[in-house]
């Protein structure tokens, strides 16, 4: 497991995060909305270094647009990618069947990220038990197995779709 740095994150993040595990945090917004955010190792297709990312609103409320949330999450993801040989796997939450919307938001966030040129993002859709899932992998372009990871992830998803 990788270990992220609460201190390093709190030096740059607009919201103060509290570490709840090696690679998980909680933070509360100025509107009292509590988020859990982090990474959990995922060995679905690659045994080393893939971590599934999650961002969960633990409160019953949502209050408009708050750029400090995405900024805090960005700092956490940047700390994750201080580790060169990691892969971030992101599966859009299917709650309310709004996964396409969440995928668009994620891509907007990524494409407006000033350092996006340093990373590769690949997204694939799949049907599992009659639910459409959108899954993405994000990794540094200098990852030692960059091309193989993208290729294997593509095969993992697309060979299922073609099956």
């Amino acid at each position: 497991m990788i270990k992220l740095s609460e201190n390093a994150i709190n030096q740059r993040a607009p919201y103060k995060v509290e570490q709840t595990g090696d690679s998980s945090f909680m933070f509360e917004t100025k509107h009292g909305v509590v988020y859990s955010v982090g990474f959990m190792q995922d060995v679905s297709f690659y045994r080393e270094g893939v971590y599934q990312f999650y961002l969960i609103n633990l409160s019953s409320k949502t209050i408009g647009v708050d750029k400090n949330i995405s900024e805090t999450v960005r700092v956490i993801i940047e700390d994750f990618f201080t580790h060169k040989e990691v892969v971030m796997l992101y599966i859009c939450d299917t709650a309310d069947m709004r996964q396409e919307f969440r995928d668009r938001l994620f891509k907007i966030w990524f494409n407006t990220y000033e350092k996006c040129d340093l990373y590769s993002l690949y997204t694939a859709g799949m049907m599992i038990d009659n639910v459409r899932y959108l899954s993405s992998v994000l990794l540094r372009k200098d990852h030692p197995l960059h091309n193989q990871v993208l290729s294997k992830f593509h095969d993992f998803i697309m060979e299922h779709n073609e099956g």
């Binding site: 909680m26 982090g38 599934q52 999650y54 409160s59 599992i128 294997k152 299922h160």
Partner: protein, 47 residues
């Protein structure tokens, strides 16, 4: 290229099982996060 770090699937059933596990992890994240929140604040969060 060393392929040993990548999972090999011997059947579509194995692949589907891996995919189901992958997309099902969110429930684990949510359960853990709620547990941590409840321990910290002593109250349940909204489901």
């Amino acid at each position: 290229m060393d392929d040993s770090v990548f999972v090999k699937f011997n059947s579509e059933e194995e692949r589907l099982a891996a995919l189901r596990k992958m997309v099902g992890m969110r429930k684990i994240f949510e359960a853990r996060a709620r547990e941590i929140y409840e321990k910290k604040y002593g109250v349940s969060v909204a489901q």
